[in-house]
Subunit: 199 residues, 2 copies
DNA sequence: CGAAAAACCGACCGGTCGGTCGGTATAAGT
DNA sequence: ACTTATACCGACCGACCGGTCGGTTTTTCG
């Protein structure tokens, strides 16, 4: 029957589509472009996906699964609150910068084109992630107040939005050849956030 | 001759176009939509602007001028480094949140559709702004080290990107009816950044 | 090998897009 | 009142878009 497992086909299409969407933008990328990049005809492409929207949705869904596996799950396995937050910052930055996980950038930038029903599904998962980060920050502040009598004036909610903002914005300016490399970025942002939420 | 000064016409068009671009996205907004919202025909609209690209460019250019007038210029008039940075954070947040200045949000989100030549012009002005912020942070750290012997481990460049990221990301999640209001946001982000760059 | 199913092609469709153009209405200058 | 330049309209164009479909190739299974 299939000369290739359909799951593999679909995932390869999603990978290529995510790359093109990231490079040229969702609206500026036609289904013909995606098909051509896969050495496929447009009709052949529609054999695997029903619509362009479905492809975008699957890309974003995959992005959330990547976040789940590469950020949330490893972080949950860490016991110490401070180390947990440190790990989250590092892993989240790495995921955003990873040239392999282009789905993340597409998810960050292209929410407008999604039809409302699908967009709400994605937004629900995003909100869960924000709450997760907020909880991490709350724990760090609580443990810091106990052990070091730090003030911790900034609310966990504002700090969570700030943290996600500074990390999710990276894709807007980051250049691999720039003077601010990924390995510098992680300690710098970590220091800044820890200094900020303890103040 | 003109039944309305052409400058006013152009600016009114830009205001309306910016509103639509922000609400529906640039690609999803047709020239017909813009014309209809102004009670104009598409042909009439093209009497004032040569292309859709030109409108987007003028919106972004206007956004940079707003930043110049409402953020940079007032900040420059302040002498004390710490107060300068405080003012920048407050003014920049207010500009991003201002329902009147929708051009800012369009500039933040829609850089892809611009043709390369125009995009470079905008990016040059953005880079100038980043350097400006970086300079502010450098000054604050220097004066803090002199007067309070703070460590100031975070590089001004990383801190500038972090600051702009957390502020520019606000438009992605902010809801006026949400529990995190603008008046809370300013002191929270200010506290966080000052704690961060002194640590 | 032969049959059945999945993969794929390429021509095609309706619709919309950015943009054009000839002509008309409007208003100011004299 | 007449000229003149601007503001504006609405029909129109070619291109391209997302999506469809009937038919053909390719692969797997018996």
């Amino acid at each position: 029957m299939p000369r290739e497992a359909p799951v593999d086909s679909r995932q390869e299409i999603l990978r290529t589509a995510a790359r093109l969407f990231q490079q040229r933008g969702y609206d500026a990328t036609s289904m013909n472009d995606v098909a051509a990049a896969l050495k496929l005809s447009k009709g052949g492409l529609y054999h695997h996906f029903q619509s362009k929207d479905e492809i975008l949705f699957e890309i974003m869904n995959h992005a959330m699964e990547i976040t789940q596996e590469l950020v949330i799950a490893p972080v949950r396995r860490i016991a110490d609150p401070e180390e947990r937050l440190r790990a989250l910052i590092r892993l989240h930055i790495e995921v955003v910068l990873s040239p392999r996980d282009r789905e993340i950038t597409v998810m960050l930038h292209e929410n407008h084109p999604l039809p409302p029903t699908l967009r709400k599904r994605i937004n629900t998962r995003k909100k869960e992630y924000i709450h997760f980060v907020e909880g991490l920050i709350t724990d760090v502040q609580a443990s810091a107040q106990r052990s070091r009598h730090a003030k911790c004036a900034v609310s966990p909610r504002a700090a969570a939005f700030a943290l996600l903002g500074m990390i999710n914005w990276i894709y807007q300016w980051y250049k691999p050849e720039g003077d601010l490399q990924a390995n510098n970025l992680v300690p710098q942002f970590t220091e800044l956030i820890f200094g900020g939420i303890m103040a």
